[in-house]
C-alpha cells in the first residue's frame, strides 16, 4: 500500500482529524453535486435553451446515478476507517474519492461536448482540493493524467476517433474541429491546473508545518510549566522543613515540657505559634496547588455528588456543632445522576467551600447546599448568610492569594488560596464556578455569599 502520510503526521491526531472532517465534507458536497446535476439535466432545456440527445441524456443520468451510488457506499465505509498509516486509512480513502470524482467528471465533460463544455473548469477546483490533502507526487501524477486524458479526448474528437457529443444550442459554431482553439484551450487549462496544484500544495504544506510547530511549542510550554511547578514544590518543601521544626519546639515550650514560662513571654510565644501556623498553612496550600497543576489528567470515576457532601459534612461536624450553624442539603434532582470525576479532588474543593461558609458565617447562621438537575450536568449551590464579599472584590476572589477586603480587616485567618484551588479543581472537571454576594439568604448586616458550581455528567 502506498504511504500517503507525511512522516511528521503519522502520530499527529490533529492531522487525522482534519482529513476525517474533509472526507465527511466531501461526501456531503457530493450529494449537493448530484442534486445540482439532476436539476441541470431536467431544467436545462427550459432555463438555458439547450437540448441533449437521447444518448447524452442517458449517459448523464447514468453518471449522476453512479455518483449517487458510490457516494452512498463511501459514506457507509467511512465510519469503519482506522487512522493506521500502514493500512487503508482516511488518506487512501480521499485518494479513492478523488479518482472516482475525476472519472465521473471526465465522463460528464466528454458527454457535454469535450472542448466545448464549460464543465472542464471543474477540473481546476478538484485539483485544488486534492492538493490540500494528498502528497505532492500523488497529486502531480493525477494532474498530469487528467491533462493527458483530457487532451486525448479532445484530439480524439478532432481526428474523429471518438464521437463528438455537442450540446445543441450552447455554441453558435462548433469548436471541436478548430485546431487553434483546441491548442489554446488545452494549453491554458493544462497550465492553470498544474499551477493551481503546485501553489495549493506548497501552501498546504507550509500550513501543516506551521501548525505542527505551534503544537510543538505548546508542548514545550507545558513541559516548562511542569518544571516550574516542580521547582516551586521543592522550594516550598525546603521552607516547610525548618518551619515544622520551629513549630515542634514552640509546642514543647507552650505545653510546659520545659517547665513553666512567664506569662508575658507565653503570650508572645502564642503569637509566634499562630503566625508560624499561618506560614505552614500557606506552604501546604502552595504544595497542594502545585501538585494539582502537575496532575494533568484527573482520575475519572463515577461519583454521586451527595456522597461527597456526606463525607465533607462528616469531617466538618465538630466545626458545625461548635458554631451552631444550621446546614441543610436540598436535593431537587429527580434522578441521582452520577458525574465522572476525581472524588479526592472534589472533596478538597467542596470541603474548602463548606469550611469557608462556616468560617465566615456568624454563630447560629445558615448554610444551604442545593443540588439541581441541569442539562448534561449537576448544579450545586452553596449559600450562606455570613459576612459576604464586597462587590469590588468579587472579580478577584478566585485569584491566588487574594483575600477579600472585609475578611482581612476583620482578622479572619487564611492564606487566600482556597478559592483558586476550588476553581482549578472544578475547571479540571470541565465545570464552572461563579460567586454571588449578597446571597438569596441575605439578612440585614449579613449579606451572605452564594457559590454556584456546575459539573458535567
Amino acid at each position: 500500500m502506498i504511504s500517503l502520510v507525511p512522516s511528521w503526521a503519522v502520530y499527529y491526531d490533529e492531522f487525522w482529524g482534519a482529513i476525517g472532517r474533509r472526507n465527511s465534507w466531501f461526501i456531503k458536497l457530493r450529494y449537493g453535486a448530484v442534486a445540482m446535476l439532476f436539476v441541470f439535466i431536467v431544467s436545462s432545456e427550459f432555463l438555458l435553451g439547450i437540448r441533449f440527445t437521447s444518448t447524452q441524456l442517458l449517459a448523464l443520468t447514468i453518471i449522476t446515478c453512479m455518483i449517487l451510488v458510490y457516494n452512498g457506499i463511501l459514506q457507509s465505509i467511512r465510519i469503519y476507517l482506522k487512522c493506521d498509516p500502514n493500512k487503508f486509512n482516511p488518506l487512501h480513502f480521499s485518494l479513492v474519492q478523488m479518482i472516482l470524482d475525476l472519472t465521473a467528471l471526465m465522463l460528464l465533460v466528454y458527454f457535454t461536448g469535450g472542448i466545448e463544455t464549460p464543465l472542464s473548469m471543474l477540473f481546476v477546483f478538484h485539483m485544488i482540493i486534492g492538493s490540500l490533502i494528498l502528497p505532492g507526487t500523488v497529486i502531480y501524477t493525477i494532474a498530469v493524467s487528467v491533462i493527458v486524458i483530457f487532451v486525448g479526448i479532445v484530439f480524439g474528437e478532432y481526428i474523429n476517433l471518438l464521437p463528438h457529443h455537442a450540446v445543441v444550442g450552447l455554441l453558435p459554431t462548433p469548436l471541436y474541429q478548430n485546431f487553434k482553439f483546441i491548442m489554446a484551450y488545452s494549453t491554458v487549462i493544462g497550465f492553470v491546473m498544474f499551477m493551481s496544484v503546485v501553489l495549493a500544495n506548497k501552501i498546504a504544506n507550509q500550513l501543516y508545518r506551521i501548525e505542527q510547530e505551534l503544537v510543538e511549542s505548546l508542548e514545550q510550554l507545558n513541559a516548562s510549566e511542569i518544571e516550574k511547578q516542580k521547582y516551586v514544590m521543592s522550594v516550598v518543601h525546603e521552607i516547610k522543613t525548618p518551619l515544622a521544626a520551629l513549630h515542634s519546639y514552640l509546642d514543647i515550650i507552650l505545653q510546659g515540657f520545659l517547665g513553666p514560662v512567664n506569662e508575658k513571654v507565653l503570650s508572645k510565644l502564642q503569637r509566634i505559634r499562630a503566625r508560624s501556623a499561618e506560614a505552614i498553612l500557606l506552604t501546604n496550600d502552595v504544595l497542594k496547588i502545585s501538585k494539582l497543576r502537575l496532575l494533568d489528567e484527573i482520575t475519572k470515576e463515577e461519583i454521586e455528588i451527595r456522597d461527597i457532601f456526606r463525607t465533607v459534612l462528616l469531617k466538618q461536624r465538630a466545626n458545625i456543632e461548635k458554631k451552631k450553624v444550621k446546614v441543610h442539603i436540598k436535593d431537587n434532582r429527580k434522578e441521582r445522576t452520577k458525574i465522572l470525576g476525581d472524588s479526592f479532588l472534589l472533596e478538597i474543593a467542596f470541603s474548602n467551600l463548606i469550611s469557608n461558609a462556616l468560617k465566615y458565617t456568624e454563630d447560629e447562621g445558615l448554610v444551604e447546599i442545593t443540588l439541581d438537575e441541569k442539562e448534561n450536568g449537576v448544579q450545586i449551590e452553596i449559600c450562606d448568610n455570613g459576612v459576604g464579599i464586597p462587590g469590588k472584590d468579587l472579580v478577584n476572589i478566585f485569584n491566588d492569594f487574594y483575600r477579600a477586603s472585609n475578611i482581612r480587616s476583620k482578622g479572619y485567618e487564611g492564606t487566600g488560596m482556597g478559592l483558586s484551588v476550588i476553581k482549578h479543581v472544578i475547571e479540571k472537571h470541565g465545570g464552572t464556578v461563579s460567586v454571588q454576594s449578597p446571597s438569596r439568604l441575605a439578612l440585614t448586616n449579613r449579606p451572605g455569599t452564594s457559590f454556584i458550581i456546575f459539573l458535567p455528567t
Partner: protein
C-alpha cells in the same frame, strides 16, 4: 518502659520528639540517616519506630520501611512527612508503604503521644 527509635535527618525534630517522649517516660534512641537507623533498630530492637520520609533522598524513608518488612522486622512504624496528603499522595495504611500510620509534619506533642500510645497498644494486642 517501651523503647522507641526515631529516624530523621533534622536534628531539631529528633530533639523535640525525644523531649516529648522522654517526658512521657519512654526510652528514646535516635538516628540521623537510614543506614544508621537500620543498625540502631537491629541493635536496640525497639517497640516502635518513628521514621521520616525524606532524608538523604526524597523517598529513602519509604525504602527503609520496605527493607524492615523484607527482613521480617514487624515493629510498628509511624511515618512522618512534610508532604503526604497535602499533595494528594493518599497512602492507605500498609498499602504502598508498609507502615502502620502516616502523619504530616509538624505533629503536635499531644498527637505524637496519642499516636505512639495507640501503636504500642496495638503491638501488645498482636
Amino acid at each position: 518502659m517501651a523503647k522507641i527509635v526515631i529516624i530523621d535527618d533534622d536534628p531539631d525534630i529528633l530533639d523535640a520528639s525525644s523531649l516529648v517522649l522522654h517526658a512521657k517516660g519512654y526510652e528514646v534512641v535516635t538516628a540521623t540517616n537510614p543506614e544508621e537507623g537500620y543498625k540502631v533498630v537491629k541493635d536496640v530492637n525497639p517497640d516502635l519506630i518513628i521514621l521520616d520520609v525524606m532524608m538523604n533522598e526524597p523517598d529513602d524513608g519509604f525504602f527503609l520501611a520496605q527493607k524492615f518488612r523484607k527482613d521480617k522486622i514487624t515493629i510498628p512504624i509511624l511515618m512522618l512527612s512534610s508532604v503526604s496528603k497535602t499533595v494528594g499522595m493518599s497512602f492507605g495504611i500498609s498499602e504502598l508503604v508498609p507502615v502502620d500510620d502516616f502523619v504530616e509534619k509538624p505533629i503536635s506533642p499531644a498527637l505524637l503521644v496519642e499516636k505512639v500510645e495507640y501503636l504500642l497498644q496495638l503491638r501488645k494486642e498482636r
